[in-house]
Subunit: 109 residues, 2 copies
DNA sequence: TTTGTATGTCGTAAACATACGAATTATAGC
DNA sequence: GCTATAATTCGTATGTTTACGACATACAAA
């Protein structure tokens, strides 16, 4: 994050961070897989995506650091799942933005 | 956009691009200002944000290139406004994501 | 036509994101 | 203990974003 972004309203900063999480198709794909419980296992997730294991792992860590997913070691595998609590928070933030009342009557563009 | 992102489902790519638009607090702030019609004029928008005019202009162009806002010259000023049509499209895409049914019962994390 | 004001573009520096091979860690099973 | 396997971290190359001063453009009004 650039230094300047900290000068914005904290709510705006948080929403921008959530948006950044969703700003790569791999991360959206991961969230969708986990929501559908098609697979939990790191390797299986990597196999579903057109990226190397290393890159997928990087995206997984990004989602994990943000608290949006949780990971749990199970033998040789690692199971990931959505943090439903956090997902609800993200959803609520976006819904706040999208429920803005739009006053576009006086606009001539 | 990296070459690899084109290998994902086009719907996912589009949503990721919309998310990228919202991934900077300045751009969210601009959208909120325009939605509230607090101001339309480029210079006034710049004055509301803790960034230089040049940088704000860059963010405005980014939103404009994506079709999310429209700009119209009016004498010395430029009036911007939200493209309500496009905003509805963005909203619908996100709502699609957030209306995912979550199957987290079998997950132990 | 000159001057001032509002915008936008250019060039560029610094920070950040994406991607992956190679090395590392950690567990399972022999 | 060894070996195989799964996952992650490291190092690094490449591309993108953010930020802004300086310059360019375009209109208005003196």
């Amino acid at each position: 994050m650039h230094a300047k972004t900290t000068e914005f309203d904290p709510e705006l900063q948080e929403l921008a961070l959530f948006a950044k999480l969703l700003s790569h198709p791999a991360r959206i794909a991961i969230i969708k897989l986990l929501a559908a419980q098609k697979t939990c296992i790191s390797g299986d997730i990597a196999n579903e995506l057109p990226l190397s294991r290393a890159t997928v792992c990087q995206h997984l860590q990004e989602l994990k650091n943000a608290g949006l997913i949780k990971g749990e070691i199970s033998g040789l595998n690692v199971n990931y799942c959505l943090n439903v609590e956090k997902w609800r928070t993200v959803k609520a933030q976006f819904e706040g933005l999208f429920s803005l009342t739009i006053h576009d009557i006086s606009c001539n563009c």
